[in-house]
């Protein structure tokens, strides 16, 4: 188990380095266009570009530049943002915190909701409850985040006038402004997790050992809680961990829509403004979060499933 843990963490570091190479290649080398043009714009003269390249150290060999770049990252020197005219770290950290708050509330609502609904509908496949939950889940998953943002805004902001239409938090933190973004994310995500839970639960319910448990006369409750759930919740665990990855995508749309000052909006802004240092930092943070959650998912899955653990 310890060996497995070390192996997973080793792979995690390997993945992060591989990702950083891809990122570096895409953004810092001439592979996809001249970085000098990207930063200075199409109308910069050649002399200006050359000067910029010298200043920023772009004329050194790629390997040297990558090593320096990675070293700076590892020691927490993320460079300066062109747009915000300051260190990336100072721009990034408050934004990350805001997104963490949003993500926390989204998960705090989404996980119990989707697990309960998934287990309930998987318990008795084909029942009316199952069909209703299933169709409702499909309905909510079918509406992209930007469309549900539009629908919810139309209803709660323009129609009922209950909630504010933007979540910029310009007058300090206000919980009310968090409701719509979190609601959009939950509504979009819970259907998928519920569906996966249901599928897993339904599969377990058809297995032989559940049938024996029922046939030997155990109370239905006990069959579900002691026998079925332990196997049925292995798959949803992975799905939920991978959902963190989805959430990082979702927050980009939702934060952009509601003007929430979070990490996703920052990343999009950095990409649209060619703020390379900021974009790199954002992308690396996203990747670290995603890889971390996946490693946890892998370790957890192996730990939860004895069939894989002992083989």
């Amino acid at each position: 188990m310890v060996l497995l843990l070390l192996k997973r963490i080793g792979f995690m570091l390997f993945t992060m380095i591989a990702v950083s190479i891809i990122l570096f290649m895409l953004l810092e080398t001439g592979l996809t266009g001249d970085p000098a043009t990207r930063v200075l714009g199409n109308f910069a003269s050649d002399a200006q570009k050359e000067l910029w390249r010298n200043q920023q150290g772009y004329n050194q060999p790629v390997v040297v530049r990558y090593a320096k770049w990675l070293g700076n990252f590892a020691t927490g020197n993320l460079g300066n943002s062109i747009r915000y005219k300051g260190p990336v770290k100072e721009v990034l950290l408050p934004r990350l915190w805001n997104t963490a708050i949003l993500g926390f509330w989204t998960f705090a609502i989404m996980i119990p909701l989707s697990l309960i609904l998934g287990v309930l509908s998987g318990m008795k496949e084909g029942s009316l409850l199952d069909r209703s939950i299933s169709v409702f889940g499909i309905l909510t998953t079918s509406v992209p985040e930007f469309a549900s943002s539009v629908f919810f805004s139309a209803l709660f902001v323009f129609g009922l006038k209950w909630l504010p239409g933007t979540s910029a938090m310009s007058g300090g933190f206000e919980f009310k402004q968090l409701i719509l973004p979190a609601m959009v994310l939950v509504v979009y995500d819970f259907g998928y997790v519920a569906r996966m839970t249901r599928a897993s639960m339904a599969e377990v319910m058809t297995s032989q050992y559940i049938r024996s448990a029922v046939l030997k006369g155990l109370p239905y409750r006990q069959v579900i809680i002691r026998h079925a759930l332990r196997n049925a919740l292995i798959a949803p665990f992975t799905v939920i961990m991978l959902q963190i990855n989805w959430l990082l995508s979702g927050v980009i749309v939702v934060e952009f829509f509601f003007a929430y000052k979070g990490f996703g909006a920052l990343l999009l802004e950095a990409s649209l403004n060619n703020d390379i240092a900021l974009l790199e930092a954002c992308a690396m943070v996203a990747v670290v979060v995603a890889v971390g959650s996946q490693t946890l998912a892998d370790i957890g899955y192996t730990f939860l499933n004895p069939r894989i653990r002992f083989s």
Partner: protein
């Protein structure tokens, strides 16, 4: 259902699977959920096919800005859904926009599935080094949150239809691979695989004819759902301003262009949202209906 199908069709499984899928479409009328889905998809497919007949205006022509739904144009035609801030007929733009979506989404999904299934079978069945290498590659790609990957790739190489297909294939096939790999890991320990191995069948034959057909249930559902996700992705890219270059109609882009005016002119934003949601809903309901029916027999 698994025990029955696995014992009955050892080698002629593909024909059986294909027949069963075709039969499922015929049986669809038994599932009202699937019927609604099929209707919605069919509706948009027909709209896309007959776009030139349905749309009465040039989708990019600036005719009459801020016309309310139902306003008559000077040409005698009606703006059934109104016009946007640039005076373009919303109905015509939505109709032409369905062509864009229904071309790129299936294309991208097909590419992603081909790559994903081949990788997943190899990784799950062979295990060992092959599994390690393929899993690492997929981990690296999957470790990018999808949209982050799209934003970086498209911000650097530029937005175009083909780039979007490439980006989607690149970003979704590892996910498909993971699913196929997981199913294969489970299925390769079954008795019928051992039987095939004893018969001396080749690895490819076992993967494609013993394992893949028995993994079809989750895969068919996933394929339909993924088609929905791909449509969402295309819409989201358009919404974020990273989709197809303007002015050609694109549902996500229409929402982005008009959302600042949603307070005063809600219909401009609502109609494209309804269009994209109904198409995705169609695919998802169809997937659900198909799955329900394929499990029934």
């Amino acid at each position: 259902m698994t025990t029955q199908s696995t014992t009955e069709m050892p080698s002629a499984s593909y024909v059986a699977v294909i027949l069963r899928v075709i039969k499922s479409f015929g049986l669809l009328r038994e599932s009202w959920v699937g019927m609604i889905g099929a209707f919605l998809v069919l509706f948009w497919v027909l709209v896309a096919l007959f776009a030139p007949l349905i749309a009465q205006f040039d989708p990019n022509a600036n005719i009459l800005p801020f016309a309310k739904p139902g306003t008559m144009a000077a040409s005698g035609h009606t703006f059934w859904l109104g016009t946007d801030h640039m005076g373009r007929d919303l109905l015509s733009r939505i109709v032409w926009g369905s062509r864009t979506v229904l071309t790129y989404a299936p294309l991208a999904t097909l590419c992603a599935y081909t790559v994903g299934i081949l990788m997943g079978l190899q990784a799950g069945y062979r295990g060992g080094l092959v599994d390690d290498i393929l899993s690492r590659i997929s981990d690296i790609i999957l470790s990018f949150p999808v949209l982050v990957l799209y934003i970086i790739v498209i911000a650097t190489i530029g937005a175009s239809g083909i780039n979007i297909v490439i980006a989607i294939t690149f970003a979704s096939s590892p996910g498909i691979m993971r699913i196929v790999r997981g199913l294969t890991l489970d299925l390769r320990n079954r008795d019928y695989v051992a039987a095939a191995q004893t018969r001396g069948e080749s690895a490819w034959r076992i993967m494609l004819f013993e394992i893949l057909p028995n993994a079809r249930g989750p895969l068919i559902v996933d394929a339909c759902l993924r088609l929905g996700y791909v449509i969402i992705t295309i819409g989201v890219l358009g919404f974020l301003g990273l989709g197809l270059p303007p002015p050609d109609p694109d549902w996500g882009g229409m929402v982005n262009e008009t959302r600042q005016m949603a307070m005063a002119f809600p219909y401009m934003t609502l109609f494209p949202c309804i269009a994209i949601s109904s198409l995705i809903l169609g695919f998802n309901l169809l997937a659900d209906g198909l799955r329900e029916i394929s499990l029934r027999d």
